[in-house]
C-alpha cells in the first residue's frame, strides 16, 4: 500500500483545494460527549491489530494519531461490450470524502477529508480508547474560498440514510501513531453479489468527484447547490401497478435526475438491481445524469424529455439536452466511451463512442448523436475547450431568446471562443448543420426529411404546422417554433386550428427576449389563448398539439 501521507498533491490543473488528510480538525469538545440514545456504538468485539504502519503521520506528544487510506473496489466496463469486467476490478482511492474518527460510543471525535489518494490522518488530544474510522459517502464543503459543494450518496429505500463505510476498531496510544485502512468491497463473489455491496456508494461518489472537478477547473469558486444521489440495491427499473414511481420501495423507473420540492431539491436516482440493470459502476451513466443536474443548477435546458434513442430525429431541444448529457460524461471522465452494463451477471451491455461521428443519415441539428459528437469535440478542440463551453452554458445560453439547441449554442460558442470559429464551423459542417452565425438557424437547409421542420423558426404570420412524420411526443416536427416581436407590456397570444381536424389541443411555451419562459396549456379544443407580460424585443414560441396522433395539423398565430 502506498504511503498516504506522502501522497502527491492535487494535479496542477486541479481546482480542488488542498485536501490533506494529514491535517485533521480537532473535535476535543465533541470527544467529551456521550452517546445520546443512539445505536451507533462500536461493536463490543476486541479491536484487531492495527495495520502495518506505512503512513508518514508524525506522532504528537499528548495526542493519539490515527492514519490510513480509504479505498473502494472499482469494477470497469468492458471497453467493447460495456459489460462489467469483474476480473479487472481494482482498489481506487475514495477522494474528497468526509472521514470521521469515532470513539467506542460512536461519537465523532475528529473529522477530516480524504485527499486525492484516499488518505486521512486524525490527531486527537488525550486518550480516546478504542476508535474506528468512518468514511461518509459525502463530499461537503459549505464555506470558504475555492468552491463549495454538498454531494451525498443515500439509500432511498432506507429513509434516505447516508451511506458510511466503517473500519474495524483500533486502539491508539497517546503519543504514538497507528494505521487503520478501510476498503469498500464490491460484494461480488465471482458469480453474484453474495456480500454487502459496500463499494457502490463510493463508486458513485467517485464520479461526482470527477464531474465537479471538471467544473471547478474553469470556475474555481463555483458554489454547487446540494445534490443527493439516491442508490439502493433495491432500485429497479420498475413502477407501481398504476405507473407511478415509489422511490421508497425502489421503484424508480430508471436512473434519472430531477429537481423538485417533493424530492427535496436536486436529486439523482440510480438503478441497483442485480442481474437486471445496476448503474453504480456505469460511471458514464452517473455522469450523464449529473450533467442534467449541471444544466438545471447552472444553465438552461428547454428539453421536454421523453423517450429517445440514437437514430431518432428529435425535437431539437431534446437532442441538445441528451447529446449534452452523453458528451458531458465523456468530457468529465476523460473517456469518450459511454458504457452501460446490465442483465444476468452484469455480463451484457453496450457502448457509445461520443468522439465518433454518427453515420450520415443520423446527422443533423435534430440528432442527439450529432450533438454529443459536437460537444465532445468542441471540448477537445485546442482552440475552444471547456472554458468557453462553460461560459456559454452558464451565461449567454440562459438569456438567449432562442430555445436551447445546437444552432443557438454554436452561435454563442463562436462568440465566446473567437479563435475556435474555424474548428467549430468545420465540425458543424461535418454534421450537416448550418454554420451561419444565427441563434435561430435561419440558414439551415437540412430538414431531416420532415416537411414542417424548416424554417426552424417561422415568422409569426402564416400557418404553423406540426406533424407526426418522424414520430410522436418529442420527435422532429411535433413542435413548431416561431418568432415574433412585441413592445414591452401585456400581450394576448392566440393559437387556433385552421385545418379543421376536430380535437386538437394546442399548447405553447414562450421564451422571451430576456430568456425567461412562460407556459400555456389550456384544454379548450382547437384553441389556446394566454395574456402574457413580455419585455420588448424578439421572442420565440414552441407550439405543440397535445392530441396529435397522426398526420399534420396547422394553426394560426396572433399576438395583440
Amino acid at each position: 500500500m502506498s504511503n498516504p501521507c506522502s501522497a502527491s498533491p492535487a494535479t496542477p490543473d486541479s481546482a480542488f483545494p488542498a485536501r490533506s488528510g494529514c491535517l485533521a480538525v480537532l473535535f476535543a469538545a465533541v470527544a467529551l460527549m456521550t452517546a445520546c440514545g443512539g445505536d451507533d456504538a462500536a461493536a463490543p468485539a476486541p479491536s484487531p491489530p492495527a495495520d502495518a504502519l506505512s503512513c508518514a503521520a508524525v506522532a504528537t506528544a499528548g495526542a493519539v494519531t490515527v492514519c490510513g487510506t480509504a479505498t473502494f473496489v472499482s469494477v470497469p466496463n468492458n471497453a467493447v461490450t460495456g459489460a462489467l469486467n469483474y476480473a479487472a476490478a481494482s482498489a481506487k482511492p475514495i477522494r474528497g470524502a468526509t472521514a470521521e474518527l469515532l470513539n467506542a460510543a460512536g461519537v465523532t471525535v475528529a473529522t477530516t477529508v480524504t485527499d486525492d489518494s484516499g488518505a486521512y490522518t486524525f490527531s486527537v488530544a488525550g486518550a480516546t480508547g478504542d476508535v474506528r474510522v468512518r468514511v461518509r459517502a459525502e463530499m461537503k464543503k459549505t464555506s470558504g474560498a475555492g468552491g463549495q459543494w454538498d454531494f451525498s450518496v443515500r439509500d432511498n429505500t432506507s429513509g434516505e440514510a447516508l451511506y458510511v463505510l466503517d473500519s474495524a476498531g483500533v486502539v491508539p496510544v497517546v503519543g504514538g501513531v497507528v494505521q487503520r485502512d478501510v476498503r469498500a468491497d464490491s460484494g461480488f463473489d465471482g458469480t453474484r453479489y453474495s456480500g454487502t455491496r459496500a463499494a457502490g456508494p463510493f463508486a458513485v461518489l467517485d464520479v461526482v468527484f470527477d464531474t465537479s472537478k471538471k467544473v471547478l477547473s474553469v470556475s474555481p469558486e463555483q458554489v454547487f447547490p446540494p445534490l443527493r444521489l439516491e442508490w439502493s440495491v433495491k432500485n429497479a427499473p420498475a413502477t407501481a401497478a398504476d405507473g407511478s414511481l415509489d422511490v421508497g420501495a425502489g421503484l424508480i423507473g430508471t436512473s434519472f435526475y430531477t429537481f423538485s420540492a417533493s424530492f427535496g431539491g436536486h436529486v439523482l436516482f440510480l438503478l441497483g438491481q442485480e442481474n437486471v440493470d445496476t448503474d453504480e459502476y456505469d460511471s458514464h451513466v452517473v455522469a450523464h445524469e449529473w450533467g442534467h443536474y449541471f444544466q438545471s443548477a447552472f444553465s438552461r435546458d428547454d428539453s421536454i424529455g421523453g423517450s429517445h434513442t440514437l437514430g431518432d430525429k428529435l425535437d431539437m431541444r431534446v437532442a441538445f439536452s441528451e447529446g449534452w448529457g452523453n458528451a458531458w460524461s465523456g468530457m468529465a471522465l476523460g473517456s469518450p466511451i459511454y458504457a452501460d452494463s446490465g442483465q444476468a451477471g452484469q455480463a451484457s451491455g453496450f457502448i457509445i463512442n461520443v468522439a465518433q461521428s454518427p453515420a450520415a443519415d443520423d446527422q443533423g441539428w435534430y440528432s442527439e448523436a450529432s450533438v454529443q459528437f459536437l460537444m465532445f469535440n468542441f471540448n477537445a478542440a485546442s482552440t475552444v475547450g471547456f472554458g468557453p463551453i462553460f461560459n456559454v452554458m452558464t451565461g449567454s445560453l440562459k438569456t438567449s431568446p432562442a430555445f436551447t439547441a445546437m444552432h443557438n449554442f454554436a452561435t454563442l460558442l463562436k462568440a465566446a471562443a473567437p479563435g475556435g470559429v474555424g474548428a467549430i464551423n468545420t465540425l458543424l459542417q461535418g454534421q450537416q448543420i448550418s454554420q451561419v452565425n444565427d441563434v435561430f438557424g435561419a440558414a439551415e437547409t437540412n430538414s431531416g426529411g420532415v416537411s414542417v421542420a424548416l424554417p426552424i423558426y417561422q415568422a409569426a404570420t402564416g400557418q404553423h404546422c406540426v406533424s407526426a412524420e418522424a414520430g410522436l411526443d418529442n420527435k422532429l416536427g411535433t413542435t413548431s417554433f416561431l418568432k415574433f416581436d412585441t413592445t414591452a407590456g401585456s400581450h394576448t397570444l392566440t393559437l387556433s386550428s385552421i385545418n379543421g381536424q376536430a380535437g386538437s389541443d394546442p399548447d405553447f411555451v414562450v421564451t422571451a427576449s430576456d430568456g425567461s419562459q412562460q407556459f400555456s396549456d389550456g384544454v379548450v379544443p382547437d384553441n389556446e389563448t394566454a395574456t402574457l407580460v413580455l419585455p420588448a424585443g424578439t421572442h420565440t414560441l414552441a407550439l405543440l398539439d397535445f392530441n396529435l396522433t397522426t398526420g399534420k395539423r396547422c394553426f394560426n398565430f396572433t399576438v395583440q
Binding site: 443512539g38 466503517d166 423507473g253 450523464h288 434513442t309 399548447d507
Partner: protein, 184 residues
C-alpha cells in the same frame, strides 16, 4: 427552465407545457404514464414502461395485477412496438426468483423472441408463486446493440421484499440516520 429530466418520461411534453418549473413538484411519475383501463376491464391498467436513456428504444406497454395470492395464476400482458432497426429487435423474459413460475403464451414460447422492423407484438405471460414476496418479471429488449430492462413487480401475498438489507441502518449519537457498510 424545465427542471424535469426524467428521460423515461413518455409525455413529459405535457408537463413541460403544463405548469413550468412547478410541474415537477407533483411527485408522481411521468416516467411511466398509466394510459387508462381497457374497456370492459376496470382492473386493467396499461403502463408504458420507463424507457432507458440511450436504451433500446423499443416501447413496452404492459398490464399486470396489482397483487396475487400465493398459488394464484395471473396474467401479465405485454405489448412491444417501435422496432426501427434494420436488424430488428430481441425480447427476453426472466423471473427474478426461482419461486416464480412463468409460462409465456401458453408454453409456446420458451426462449428469446425476435421482432422485425415495424413489428407490433403482444404476449401473455402466466405467472404464479406459492411463496409470499415481492418478485419481478424482468423484460429485456435489445435493438441496435442497446438494451432496456424493465422489471414488472409481482406482489404475492404480503408482497414484502426478501432482498437482503445492505449494511446496517443506524442512528448516530447526533441523530443522523446512516447505513453502516462494513469496511475491510
Amino acid at each position: 427552465m424545465n427542471p424535469l429530466y426524467r428521460h423515461a418520461g413518455l409525455l413529459v411534453a405535457a408537463l413541460a407545457f403544463g405548469a413550468g418549473p412547478g410541474c415537477a413538484d407533483s411527485g408522481t411519475s411521468s416516467a411511466a404514464k398509466a394510459t387508462g383501463g381497457e374497456p370492459g376491464n376496470r382492473q386493467q391498467v396499461w403502463v408504458t414502461a420507463p424507457p432507458k436513456p440511450n436504451g433500446s428504444g423499443v416501447v413496452l406497454k404492459y398490464s399486470a395485477p396489482e397483487a396475487l395470492k400465493p398459488g394464484e395464476v395471473a396474467t401479465v400482458k405485454l405489448q412491444f412496438s417501435n422496432v426501427q432497426a434494420a436488424t430488428g429487435a430481441r425480447l427476453e423474459l426472466r423471473a427474478s426468483d426461482p419461486a416464480v413460475k412463468m409460462v409465456v403464451e401458453g408454453g409456446t414460447v420458451t426462449g428469446p423472441i425476435t421482432m422485425v422492423r415495424g413489428d407490433f407484438r403482444e404476449l401473455e405471460v402466466q405467472v404464479s408463486s406459492a411463496v409470499d414476496g415481492l418478485y419481478y418479471l424482468s423484460v429485456f429488449t435489445t435493438q441496435d446493440g442497446r438494451f432496456t430492462a424493465t422489471s414488472i413487480p409481482l406482489r404475492v401475498g404480503s408482497g414484502e421484499s426478501k432482498q437482503k438489507v445492505q449494511g446496517k441502518v443506524l442512528t448516530t449519537p447526533s441523530g443522523e440516520k446512516v447505513v453502516s457498510l462494513p469496511g475491510k
